[in-house]
């Protein structure tokens, strides 16, 4: 069974890029539009790895990660943060929230796939 990746990003373009890249790499892809949608999809789809943006409406990436980590059932799912935010304190905040790793936008498809494989259980 192919591994499942949940991507959370408010940009339609980015969601399509991620879907394109990850499904070509053989992953099953579920997309969510913001953190709140992400929480919903997390429980519905039970992904192996989550990739999330930081800047999002409704519920941003930090809050999303915190909520995932609070969720008793899915708190161990690896979460990669995909962001253009370059500030170290933002990175630190994401790490404190419980992020597993970082990928900087724009992403290189091969590097993204490797990053996902790197944390894939």
């Amino acid at each position: 069974m192919s591994k499942k990746v949940l991507t959370v990003d408010d940009s339609r373009t980015m969601r399509e890029m991620l879907r394109h890249t990850l499904s070509s790499a053989g992953f099953e892809v579920v997309t969510a539009e913001d953190g709140a949608d992400g929480i919903k999809k997390l429980e519905e789809s039970q992904p192996d790895v989550v990739i999330t943006d930081i800047n999002m409406p409704v519920m941003d990436g930090f809050e999303f990660i915190e909520n995932v980590r609070k969720n008793a059932e899915y708190n161990r799912v690896p979460i990669l943060v995909l962001t253009t935010e370059s500030a170290p304190e933002k990175k630190q905040r994401a790490q404190n929230a419980g992020a597993t790793g970082w990928i900087v936008k724009p992403f290189d498809p091969e590097k993204l796939t490797r990053a996902v494989n790197r944390v894939m259980p």
């Binding site: 940009s11 373009t13 980015m14 929480i39 969720n71 008793a72 708190n75 161990r76 419980g98």
Partner: protein, 740 residues
Amino acid sequence: MSLDDIKETFFAECADQMADLETGLHEIQSDGPDMDTVNAVFRAVHSIKGGAGAFGYAALVSFAHVFENALDVIRNDLSQVNEERMDLLLRSVDVLSDVIEAERTGTEPTDTTALARELEAAFGLTAEGEEEEDALEDFAPVTIDLEAFDLDASDAAETPSGRTYRISFAPHASLYLKGHDPLRFFRELSEMGTLGVSCDLDSLPKLTELSPDESYLKWQVDMETERDRDEIAAVFDWVDGECDLTIEEIGGGSPDGGGEELDDFLANLGDDPELADIGSEETPSGGEAASAGAAPVAGPDSPPSTAPVASGGATGDNGKDRSGEAVRRPEKEKKEVKKPSQTIRVESEKVDRLINLMGELVINQAMLAERIGQAGFGNASPAALALVELQNLTREIQSGVMAIRAQPVKPVFMRMSRIVREVCSATGKKALLELEGEHTEVDTTVIEGLIDPLTHMIRNAVDHGIEDPETRVALGKPPQGTVKLSAYHSSGRIVIEIKDDGAGINRERVLNKAIEKGIVGRDAKLTDDEIDNLIFAPGFSTAEAITDVSGRGVGMDVVRQSIQSLGGRVSISSEPGKGSLFSMSLPLTLAVLDGMIVKEAGQTLVLPVSAVLETATLKPGDVYTIGKNHRVVKMRNTLIPIIDVGRQLGFAEQRTDFTKGTIMVVEGGKSGMGAFIVDSIEGQQQVVIKSLETNYKRVPSIAAATILGNGQIALILDCDHIVSHNSGEPEAELIQSMAG
């Protein structure tokens, strides 16, 4: 979805983001900054930058980056907003939109350097060079350097050459909280070289003292590899601060890892049932824990309330309590989250098809009504009652389908604020565009047709209407003029108004110009209203000198024409010294039309109701003959040429008795009014517009066709064309065959 499709998605999304961006900035400008709006505005630019980066649009990325940094200043401190900065940000929106367009069309992007510098200066950002360096520095540590693990990794593992490292790895409890698993680090390291791994169980307490929230295990990995130290350290990039890590080179030789090979080790960790039977030696290692999917390990630095707890049996009572809380909290937060309305994107072709089918349905229902009438069923008969039900349903479907294509006029209105800024900067005037009713919806086909006339009128309002700041101050007005653009629905149509607080129309000048150009006679006596409306006359331009902004060879006559081609009307009222008001009334859609159904020489014709000013019957003395064939009627204080529609279109003989028909005074574009004479008026009804051009070919004097309830095709008249081409002679024979 191919990459090209994704690019299309990107540009479509850019358009949305630009609209959000502009709206947000306008809100900030009018209502002052609030965090939500500023965040939304920031996100818009941020998203554009993100997508642009993905496609390698360097010019777009670089300008969006500066823009984003400027917005970040406001995001960090709302009091940083001032008028000068807002002005810059709005100009940046225009430039950003140009850059996007250039990237989309693959043309040379606009030079953004000057504006970028201005932004940097105004927002106290560092100079561009430094900025980029900073950004790179920031980026570097978070970039995952996977080059180190390229595809040759397995080869390297088979032929290790020389270097041996000793890696001591002691995860903190917090490492597990971030979804990490030591197993994965070893898996990655094993792709880089040959490993020998030993696990240090010394800190492991007795089972009774063991806390599932703690981390007790340490590992020592001896690794023989070609890679250098940095590449090995990169594997642990993401757990910086979450573990104690040392990597030291211990020279050549075979790895000394306590004898246990990685594979065995992993096998033990994952599957070995004996491992679970060790009792006091049971290892709550991350490896096992994560693969079992249920190990609670809380970091000592984590507050208890945020400690994740497992739902599995390994959890103690204490854990269960907290588990309850942990589950409840996200649920509560979910309720507070406002759910945006769900939308779908559909290709416009699909909607167009639906609208066509809806048109067929309307026609079909009209046919059915006619058949039922012919069959002699009474109004109270079951068939007739069922028809009424069907008519109600059809009407609802029709408005529902139309609503799909209905869009708020907002995007067009937003474009106008750019026009105002451009004209202001070209003329040195100061003006602010106020919007009202921008959420009013209208069919997309109408919106598209609105852009050009609106642009022209807004441009005129600033260029001709608003006085320059000094004059305004001298007149006791605020130096900044206001142009108010509003939209509202009124009896099934949309009304769009452009109101300025400028000088108003200089009637003396307008009249003199009209006389000079021969538009009106030298001794003409015109009302103020009539003088104002002269600016719509063809070839009329009030500008004394042709400025950069207007005077592009397009006059208000063209504006009126394009509004009329949308089935709309435009009028002006003006008060000298106070300003002018242009008012447009347009249909909500171009798919159906309110038609006046008329009969002429046995043919059924349709006139757009919007074009008809009044109807009348004539008495013998009302008609005057000019020349051989030209007849006029005196109405509305003026002489209106009578147009014998049947004769003009070529399917009826010249009418001799003008008192037998009905006159319809029609507004017909450039040439003013025409009095159409037809045999009778049948009634008024909505008709579905069918393009003649698409289905047959373009026919002069005919705007489109429709299908009536009896299945007959009826032609919709192009009033504008008929009035302006009224020669008293019939149109081409072609029309005879069409109408026959």
